[in-house]
């Protein structure tokens, strides 16, 4: 065929390949960077997320180092020091049985973080699995799985967790983690399913199918990486949710029970000092709020960082 230009294309440079060479220059000005370099740059643009990461890192270090350094001090009581004021070795003073509040708080933070982290693994794991199958397969499989989600969602979660815990052992951290995990995955499943439903029809997924890629490859290589945004959001919400649920459980006496420390049982013990020593309520509460807020902000930051379409502001 001749290079006859159709009417609407008349007067346009036709030497396609040569013309292109000249406009590739712009792209060459930007250095080649790996995905993770770009992700880090995008994350650093997110100021709240950076602060959240910083705060969370401090909490994490405290929750690791202090219990390691002080051993079992968090459960020792010294009757001579009951309700003693703050000092150099006990910045937050001593409680009603003579235990160092600061050390106990660090230990409590540790249990909360462990529970939050472990439970969120279960939540995201089950949620992604169910959501991915549901959204990718569609049809009756989707229908069955989503009705299952509806059923789990309609159960009174706290009641179920209390039942599981009282049945399998009150005060066992593993039972608490599993109980929170297997009741909390529904939101994650829904978010992931919605994303899979959309992405399944995306052109680049269709293109991969046209290439002959198998289901596993399409799910793991094409859809899942693009479904990172809801996954990270689900994880952030999951951490926040698990930490709060654990606190509620311990507050009710079904979670971590004394002498083990958790933010929840510390709150439970100090509730009688609501008027006489309100700052004692403040300590575990502030840590709890910090963990929840930081998880949420950090989630936002990671979500944006993993999105390659997000622009990196030039300096």
């Amino acid at each position: 065929m001749d290079r006859i230009e159709p009417a609407s294309l008349a007067g346009v440079d036709t030497s396609a390949r040569d013309a292109l060479r000249s406009d590739t220059d712009e792209i060459d000005l930007i250095p080649v960077r790996t995905f993770w370099q770009l992700a880090r740059q995008r994350f650093m643009q997110h100021r709240l997320a950076v602060i959240a990461l910083f705060v969370l890192a401090i909490l994490l270090v405290m929750a690791t180092v202090i219990p390691l350094a002080t051993g079992i001090q968090y459960r020792l009581s010294d009757l001579r020091l009951i309700n003693d004021g703050p000092s150099l070795t006990a910045p937050l003073g001593y409680d009603e049985v003579g235990t160092n509040i600061f050390i106990r708080l660090a230990k409590g933070t540790q249990s909360s973080l462990i529970i939050g982290g472990a439970a969120v693994l279960i939540i995201v794991g089950i949620g992604t699995f169910v959501g991915a199958i549901s959204g990718y397969a569609g049809g009756w499989i989707d229908n069955v799985l989503m009705r299952m989600v509806d059923v789990v969602l309609s159960l009174p979660v706290l009641f179920i967790i209390l039942m599981i815990v009282s049945f399998f052992g009150v005060g066992d951290i593993r039972v608490v983690i599993i109980a929170i995990g297997i009741t909390g995955w529904t939101l994650a499943a829904r978010l992931i399913r919605a994303e899979f439903l959309t992405l399944r029809e995306a052109d680049f997924v269709q293109a991969a199918r046209a290439l002959g890629a198998g289901h596993r490859r399409i799910i793991l290589r094409h859809i899942l990486p693009s479904a990172m945004a809801p996954l990270v959001v689900a994880a952030a919400l999951g951490v926040a949710d698990s930490v709060v649920t654990e606190a509620a459980l311990s507050f009710l006496g079904y979670g971590i029970s004394p002498p083990d420390a958790s933010l929840g049982n510390m709150l439970n013990k100090v509730r009688i000092y609501f008027f006489s020593a309100p700052e004692r309520i403040l300590y575990p509460s502030v840590v709890l709020v910090l963990i929840v807020l930081c998880a949420s902000f950090l989630g936002d930051g990671i979500r944006d960082a993993l999105d390659p379409r997000q622009r990196i502001a030039s300096k």
Partner: protein
């Protein structure tokens, strides 16, 4: 009854090389001229009575069927080796769905597609994977068709990887060669799609399609989303690649000028059916279906001195859920009006029949179409202030 006669006509048209094919090869011969394309008109892809209905579900659990969108409703045609078959039609006429069904990206309701005489819908997973090496696709939207999390090298190299080229070095060499072939800088192999312009991205898409060395490529509106200046570059690239590699294209588009430029034969779709299928020159010079006539009259005139009246169709495209009886076009047909509303337009579905060598149309009254008839139909229309500026070039 109607479907039977339709099928017969189709089969006759595609099997008997006599009347139809002589015209075609003569026409293609005159257009391409350089012999890069085999002109014997051997069939590469055959589409037979293809039907795709999307069910509309409702009811308590979403299982009862309320109706169906008849996106593709009994389409048959052949694509010959080395040719470009254009497919035009309004939005929603089913052309993109047809492309996807042919590629088996969405399952067909009924009908069959043969590629190199293999019935595609009967193949198992592994056999299908082998067939996929023979047919590839280029999508419309260069922004949505590339995975934003993969580098150009990974995108273009995925096909070969899936089909067993696991050696990284060899794959990279292949990708570099392909990038050069589509006019991209080979050093961009490690970049991500979002760093490229629309035209460049479309080239990446083309390179991906070529990576498996296919014979048949479905181009689903490959230039519609691009600037006019970039459109011609990409069209010429497709054209060059066809010559170099002996590709066969099914070129889906709604831009008549683009289709005229690139196609050897053109099919016109209306509401899930092909209403006319002809050699490109014949179709544009002497359309034999009232819908094609109306479509062509909507093409902007390049010469501002030539003022002419456009034949404007009244009303909207009817719903594909509930298509009109008989001829689907009868609700908007100017010819039917001119002929005093003959009854068989409403009662009888017109089969696609051979009207001239290399030309088929699905109209009972195709012979009545003449320049005078078109002129008088246009004259009888209420004068619409047709803005007739020279199209932006």
């Amino acid at each position: 009854m109607t479907t039977d006669s339709e099928a017969n006509t189709m089969d006759d048209a595609s099997r008997a090389p006599g009347a139809t094919d002589v015209g075609t090869s003569a026409a293609t011969g005159s257009v391409d001229g350089n012999g890069a394309r085999p002109s014997d008109g051997e069939t590469l892809v055959r589409v037979q009575d293809l039907v795709k209905h999307f069910p509309i579900r409702g009811g308590l659990l979403g299982v009862s069927k309320l109706g169906a969108v008849r996106a593709v409703d009994g389409v048959s045609f052949d694509v010959r080796r080395g040719e470009t078959l254009g497919l035009v039609g309004e939005s929603g006429c089913g052309k993109t769905t047809l492309g996807k069904v042919i590629l088996r990206l969405i399952p067909a309701t009924s009908g069959e597609v043969y590629i190199k005489d293999r019935a595609m819908f009967k193949q198992s997973g592994n056999q299908m994977k082998a067939i996929r090496e023979d047919m590839q696709v280029v999508f419309q939207d260069p922004y949505a068709s590339l995975n934003p999390r993969m580098t150009v090298g990974e995108i273009v190299g995925e096909g070969p990887l899936v089909h067993g080229l696991s050696n990284r070095k060899k794959r990279e060499a292949l990708v570099r060669e392909l990038l050069g072939r589509v006019g991209l800088n080979q050093s961009h192999i490690h970049r991500y799609p979002h760093e490229f312009s629309g035209g460049q991205r479309q080239r990446i898409g083309i390179a991906r399609a070529l990576a498996l060395n296919p014979e048949f490529v479905v181009c689903d509106e490959p230039v519609s989303a691009l600037d006019v200046s970039i459109q011609s570059q990409v069209l010429n690239l497709l054209d060059d690649l066809q010559k170099e590699l002996g590709l066969t294209y099914l070129f889906i588009a709604h831009n008549l000028a683009v289709v005229e430029h690139i196609s050897d034969r053109v099919g016109v779709m209306y509401l899930g059916k092909i209403v006319e299928l002809a050699d490109v020159d014949t179709l544009y010079r002497d359309p034999r279906h009232p819908y094609t006539v109306a479509l062509l009259s909507a093409v902007p005139e390049t010469d501002p001195r030539r003022r002419r009246k456009r034949l404007v169709l009244r009303g909207d495209v009817p719903s594909p859920v509930n298509p009109p009886s008989g001829c689907r076009f009868h609700t908007r047909c100017w010819l039917r009006e001119q002929l005093g509303n003959p009854e068989n337009c409403v009662t009888e579905e017109p089969p696609l029949r051979v009207l001239a060598p290399g030309q088929q149309a699905a109209c009972h009254w195709a012979e009545k179409i003449s320049p005078e008839a078109i002129q008088s139909a246009a004259d009888r229309q209420p004068t619409v202030a047709t803005a007739e500026p020279a199209p932006a070039a």
